[in-house]
């Protein structure tokens, strides 16, 4: 398990290094919406406040 986590961490580091090397911005955190107008307003308010 420890090896698995370490590998994942290293892969992430390599991804970031590649993104920086080629001038690509790393993906920002994805904000999942509900698809319902009222709920989505509440989600957006919570995320940005």
């Amino acid at each position: 398990m420890e090896l698995y986590e370490k590998t994942i961490e290293e892969i992430k580091e390599i991804e970031v290094a590649i993104e920086l090397r080629f001038g690509v911005d790393p993906d920002e955190e994805h904000i999942e919406l509900d698809g319902d107008l009222i709920n989505d307003i509440a989600i957006m308010s919570e995320v940005f406040c």
């Binding site: 107008l37 009222i38 957006m44 406040c49």
Partner: protein
Amino acid sequence: MENYCIHPQRLLPQWKALVENRSHLDEGEKRSAKILFSALKEMDKEDIQFLSAKYYQSEQGGREHPLREGYYKTYKPISDQKMAIVSGITSDKYREKRLKVENRLRAKLLEVNHKLLAIDRENLEVYVLKLGDLYLKDYEISSLGYISKEFTFTQESEKATKFDKSSKVGMELIRTMHLTKENPSKTEWFPILWIDMEQIVN
């Protein structure tokens, strides 16, 4: 302290774009999202649906996003005439209702703006202290460790004493003198005061 936009006419055309670009917003857009969605959250469901029909449901893109191809920064609202037809009322009636709902949103935006600015002030890492339009320039601490009752104030924010977020003196001054925190980087312009020396001499 930097203000938030409180104009429904400027924020509502951004509504759909803020949702679509939610993971790629710049600092200014995040501020717009913060105030717009906090204010909308406080509105009645009926008012939200009314505004959504005109602004959020629009398919007509406005200002193109400079960095995201195929995305927009704003959407053009559906015209009052079209919305009136869909709603089965006259344009004048629709416009009248729209203005009322937008005024209710404006009131919520003002409320939220007040709350957000208070939170921003609380979170300042470094701040200056203000009394009305004046900034606290200097104060003295007596040999016994209490704050002297004589203070110097200035109109120039850059000359004001800066306090760290954890400053006990700063907190004590706020508590006892009802001074308010302000961002030290803010620049304010005051009218130059001219004194007629001739009148004073005579």
